[in-house]
Amino acid sequence: MKRITPELVCPAGSLPALKSAVENGADCVYIGFRDGTNARNFPGLNFSTDEARQAVDYAHDANAKLFLALNTYPKPDQWQAGVRAIDLAAQLKVDALIVADPGLMRYASQNYPELRLHLSVQGSATNHLALDYYKRHFNIQRAVLPRVLSLSQVRRVALEAPVEIEVFGFGSLCIMVEGRCALSSYVTGKSPNASGVCSPAEAVRWEKQGDHLCSRLNGVLIDEFSEHEQAGYPTLCKGRYRVNDSVYYALEEPTSLNVLEILPELMQIGVSAIKVEGRQRSPAYVAGVTRTLRSAIDACINNPEEYQVQPSWMRDLDKVAEGQCHTLGAYHRPWQ
């Protein structure tokens, strides 16, 4: 079995976050432009052209790679913005473009054949046949897998895939197949696919009702919290709802994905990169998560047989995790 050292790919929503990632051991950092061309289109986040240029220089000076996420699906009136972003990425000499839309992939591969393409998690590819198509048409080099496959399914895809495989290692968990979820636009008019946002902050309202705190998304009650409960952000797949006669987290609990326990297996499978979610998070989050994952990956590389999850790693990660707890998500079969 091939054993390769996976790259640690970390998020940055700002220059300080990028520096935190690089200083704490990220091999690659991914960023997005400050517009609707990427799936973290949040106010005050992301990079202007100038900042992106500084980001590339900073990363390259530190011997790290810089990836650009261009992973929404442009509608006809957004097409030019997508094309401009590709032109710019090529000029800036980013190390890879993370793309989801087949039309944009075609533009990039025809106009900049030397520009390395990674299929975004938003591309929804969960099998080698889909990857064959993207490889055949656009010569993609790597694919980020949606967070819906079990460990044995990831192994199977990695074995047969014509490209490198990148998997999520830590961060807020999408439980739906990425790129195929319109829940957010159903409620707010804005989705990750079309607008680069899920459950956008502008649609959130907090309401006090008696001693309860209610969170609403465009008027829809996502959850309510009693005084002794910690209120979480109303991401709509992580609310409590009524099905039959029970009120519970009908889709998913607020929790973060954390793969530290299965790091040796992921490395044995031969995944090429492990990705951290969270371009919307602070430089302190990026620093802490990068540091911990760097330590864990290094420990696993140096001595895979003796690898053990350090309690301090879990403690540090849980502190910044959504819901302050973690799960193996779909990697762990019973979750499904």
């Binding site: 442009p74 509608k75 998913e252």
Partner: protein, 293 residues
């Protein structure tokens, strides 16, 4: 029950029938050969038959079945994942389903070159985007729009119907079969919100573009898709059929014949707004007041 449903469809004015399983590979009460028997019956009745395929592939066995569907040799296939496009490319003409993200003319041209002869617009796209895509579409591809039914909004590895019964997905006991219209999910203040259909999440409201039919026709849309509900599907077909043909033959059938006002509808996506919104057209308001008289 399934057979008698398709018997009645064979006598309806429907032109095209999509058969098979798009959601969950564990639903095996009808196997591919059973679907093909139904396909032959519909084909003999003069219907165009398309075999559909899954939107999410996780296990190797699912890809094996996909290869059999794509190699059926008789009926075209609806691709809902790039795996199917990859298999069908240059092999046989196919239909791009609503779960493949065709958002712009460049993607549409690519899929057309790969052999797509029809594409279904993703449900979150609206009338304005449709107009732009219609202006740019290649000559040899038909356009289909989802016009009626619970909106297919998301897919997951997790089965929410099994989760609601505290059953593991691997031993789900096919509990979704007990809910022919899906399992209703309400907010804590009792508002109908979503519908759980196994690993798929749908809207609770029914998407309904009946009043947009003249606009759809004028935009050159070739096919209107109705997603069957457990009851009333034939009446729905009838209503859309008459809405489609009223402009042509001049004898507009009164929409009042279609008793729809009891349902919760939505159409926000058509207007480029939140999908759950129900914008009532003047025509619909007139109908409401006529029925409430």
């Amino acid at each position: 029950m399934v057979q008698s449903f398709y018997q009645s469809i064979s006598k309806s004015p429907v032109d095209i029938v999509y058969l098979g399983e798009a959601v969950c590979s564990k639903r095996r009460n009808l196997k591919l050969d059973d679907w093909l028997i139904i396909a032959d019956m519909l084909d003999a009745a003069g219907k165009e038959v398309v075999l559909t395929s899954l939107a999410l592939f996780e296990a190797e066995s699912e890809l094996g079945l996909l290869k059999r569907i794509c190699g059926n040799g008789r009926y075209p296939v609806e691709a809902n994942d790039m795996a199917a496009v990859s298999l069908l490319e240059d092999q046989s003409p196919f239909i791009v389903g609503p779960h493949i993200n065709t958002y712009n003319p460049s993607t549409l041209a690519l899929l057309s070159e790969s052999g797509a002869r029809r594409w279904v617009m993703p449900v979150e796209l609206g009338g304005e985007t449709l107009k732009q895509l219609q202006q740019a579409r290649p000559d040899n591809i038909e356009t289909e729009v989802f016009v009626y039914g619970r909106l297919p909004l998301a897919f997951s590895a997790r089965c929410y119907t099994a989760r609601a019964q505290n059953l593991p997905k691997d031993h789900c006991q096919f509990c979704c079969a007990s809910y022919p219209d899906g399992l209703l999910l309400k907010t804590r203040d009792a508002r109908s919100f979503l519908t759980l259909n196994g690993i798929q999440t749908q809207s609770a409201s029914i998407y309904n573009l009946i009043y947009q039919v003249p606009e759809l026709v004028s935009l050159g849309v070739d096919v209107l898709r109705i997603s069957p509900q457990s009851e009333g599907t034939l009446e729905t077909i009838d209503a859309f059929y008459h809405a489609m043909h009223s402009e042509v033959n001049g004898n507009r059938k009164p929409i009042e014949d279609w008793q729809i006002v009891d349902y919760e509808f939505c159409n926000g996506y058509w207007y480029g707004q939140e999908g759950m919104l129900w914008k009532r057209t003047d025509e619909y308001k007139n109908l409401e007041s006529a029925l409430n008289r």
